[in-house]
């Protein structure tokens, strides 16, 4: 069947209004904002409400996350999220370890995009300690960030197809395809850093691993393959009637709600807000690049998918721009810092934010001063996933249970980062 796909600019031309859709189970409630503080006892004494625990080990929760759903029939009346199952006390650990020991630990926070975690952390430390980063390292960081964004969004795309139901994209076929293509990026990272996943390639003041010979050609071939195949994978989903029924008009996060909750990244851009830290508050080498920001207006699951797919293509374009023109020069501002930062004073406070695939990932660090050695006094991770998840009590009420899984998937939460 022919379905007009809305352009990536998100004009969202709908053939059927969302509230009159034939397969829609709850026609009127989809854009209503739920009340997270709803008193269940006062809701409707006659209604026979059922309590359903989604999680903590449900495969669709992308980790360990529990949703307590109050159901009236199949419709969600109230959703109470519980997180913390993966809480590892990273912020307390930061007060015990030295600055250089912290970088490998931050790989484990957002385990789908470890590069961004390292970068936000070393950026905060660099501005706290007043360390300069050479131009070559800034370019390499930008390149790694964009490659990581491709890998992260690819994994999300495959997982989202699984969330919507096994039949979409041929069972787990699309998931495995996306996994395979993500592996191409991980291979490139492995060649650079020696690790597939927990890279530890960023240092305070530069990068640890220089580009090996012939690496650029491998990056080129990897992103060529991904770009070519992405067109095919997109066509599996985005023109599929079932996919459109399950995502169009489902889980609308409007712009006001997103900003009020502090949601950034693809969810905010899908709601029509033109906001991207890469362009609006440039870090690394983004001030020398032109980042094209894609926005959509619908704010639903379909718009979020389109934004993320557009961001893969934009990242591929940026990687192509950068890969052959990485400036020569030193990769670190000094010899690798291995011991305590004895020569630098860590008095003061610093904040650094990067645009991770999930939004604004910020690190706020308070320096320990002289008397506490070289550990931060207090370090706070502003995790974009936690802010994104906090939309669930507002968005889920009015939807059916199967939509809850689609909405949860489209939010792209990484529980390691939510719980820390």
């Amino acid at each position: 069947m022919e379905v007009e796909v809305a352009s990536s600019a998100g004009s969202a031309s709908r053939e059927i209004p969302a509230n009159q859709h034939p397969l829609s189970n709850c026609p009127t409630a989809k854009t209503r904002r739920g009340d997270p503080y709803l008193d269940i006892a006062a809701y409707d004494p006659e209604a026979d409400l059922m309590v359903l625990n989604l999680g903590p080990q449900h495969p669709s929760t992308h980790g360990v996350f529990r949703l307590k759903l109050y159901l009236d029939g199949e419709m969600i009346v109230k959703a109470v999220p519980f997180c913390g199952y993966l809480h590892r006390g990273v912020e307390k650990l930061c007060e015990k370890l030295t600055y250089v020991q912290l970088v490998p630990i931050f790989d484990k926070n957002d385990y789908v995009s470890p590069m961004m975690n390292e970068q936000s952390l070393v950026m905060a430390f660099e501005s706290l300690l007043g360390v300069e980063v050479p131009r070559r390292a800034r370019y390499l960081r930008t390149l790694l960030a964009e490659l990581q964004r491709i890998a992260s969004h690819l994994l999300w795309f495959g997982a989202f197809a699984m969330d919507l139901g096994g039949a979409l994209g041929g069972g787990s076929t699309l998931f495995m395809y996306c996994f395979r293509e993500r592996e191409l990026i991980l291979d490139v990272f492995e060649e650079l850093t020696g690790c597939r996943f927990h890279y530890n390639t960023h240092m305070i003041g530069g990068n640890r691993h220089d580009i090996p010979t012939g690496w650029a050609a491998k990056v080129h071939s990897a992103i060529d393959i991904i770009e070519r195949r992405l067109i095919e994978y997109e066509s599996y989903l985005t023109t599929n009637r079932i996919y459109l029924d399950r995502t169009r008009g489902v889980g609308v996060v409007d712009a006001d709600l997103a900003m009020e909750l502090g949601i950034t990244g693809p969810i905010l851009r899908a709601a029509g807000i033109d906001h991207d830290l890469r362009r609006d508050a440039p870090y690394h080498a983004y001030d020398e690049l032109e980042v094209r920001v894609t926005t959509a207006t619908a704010g639903d699951c379909e718009a979020r998918t389109q934004i993320r797919l557009a961001e893969i293509r934009e990242s591929i374009r940026l990687v192509r721009l950068m890969i052959d023109g990485i400036p020569e020069g030193p990769l670190g501002s000094r010899k690798p810092i291995k011991s305590n930062l004895a020569e630098k004073s860590d008095r003061g406070q610093a904040y650094a934010a990067v645009e991770s695939p999930r939004g604004e990932l910020g690190i706020y660090v308070m320096g320990g001063g002289a008397n506490r050695g070289a550990s931060p006094y207090r370090l706070k991770i502003r995790s974009p996933s936690l802010h994104a998840l906090s939309c669930l009590p507002y968005v889920l009420p009015g939807h059916v249970v199967s939509d809850a899984v689609a909405i949860l998937g489209s939010v792209d939460p990484i529980m390691g980062e939510v719980d820390r």
Binding site: G84, M259, H275, D280
Partner: protein, 161 residues
């Protein structure tokens, strides 16, 4: 500026110092009296366009004296962000003694709900007027506040079941 990497706009600095008589701090953002907090949030949101919720960060500063009564004080740093091109952060902090509370900003920014719950959970600062102040990360029956400076990192804790 007192927070590296967070340069505030000149008009916000003027607003903080003139209208809300904030004290500049050597380390950290300007210090605002807790009674001005909500008015400041509303002014920044409605008049200055700081519409994206940023962060809430509480930190414990133990007393320097050996007075057993004095448990030190807690500082809460807030951040709000403008939308779009040349986005800026506005940041300020409040200070209260341990055991006192600060006004909750949930009524103005719904995103403060989970953030304040997290800080209550880990640092043990109460937010006055929060509609649902429960622990966010740790179990309900957890004893103590792990991010307090007097909570030793090597305390043995029985496995939670």
């Amino acid at each position: 500026m007192s927070v590296a990497g967070l340069t505030m706009a000149a008009d916000v600095m003027e607003l903080l110092t003139r209208r809300f008589s904030a004290n500049s701090e050597p380390d950290g953002p300007p210090l605002v009296a807790p009674e001005h907090h909500l008015k400041l949030v509303r002014t920044l949101r409605d008049e200055f366009g700081y519409r994206i919720f940023g962060f809430v960060i509480a930190s414990h500063h133990p007393a320097t004296t050996t007075d057993a009564e004095n448990l030190g004080h807690i500082r809460v740093v807030y951040g709000l962000r403008t939308v779009g091109v040349d986005t800026r952060l506005a940041s300020w902090q409040l200070e209260v003694g341990v055991g006192n509370s600060v006004p909750s900003m949930v009524q103005l920014f719904a995103g403060a709900d989970w953030q304040e719950r997290e800080q209550y959970d880990l640092v043990g600062i109460r937010f006055e007027g929060h509609p649902d102040l429960r622990r966010l990360m740790l179990p309900e029956d957890w004893k103590g506040y792990p991010l307090r400076k007097d909570y030793a990192i090597d305390t043995e804790v029985a496995p939670w079941r």
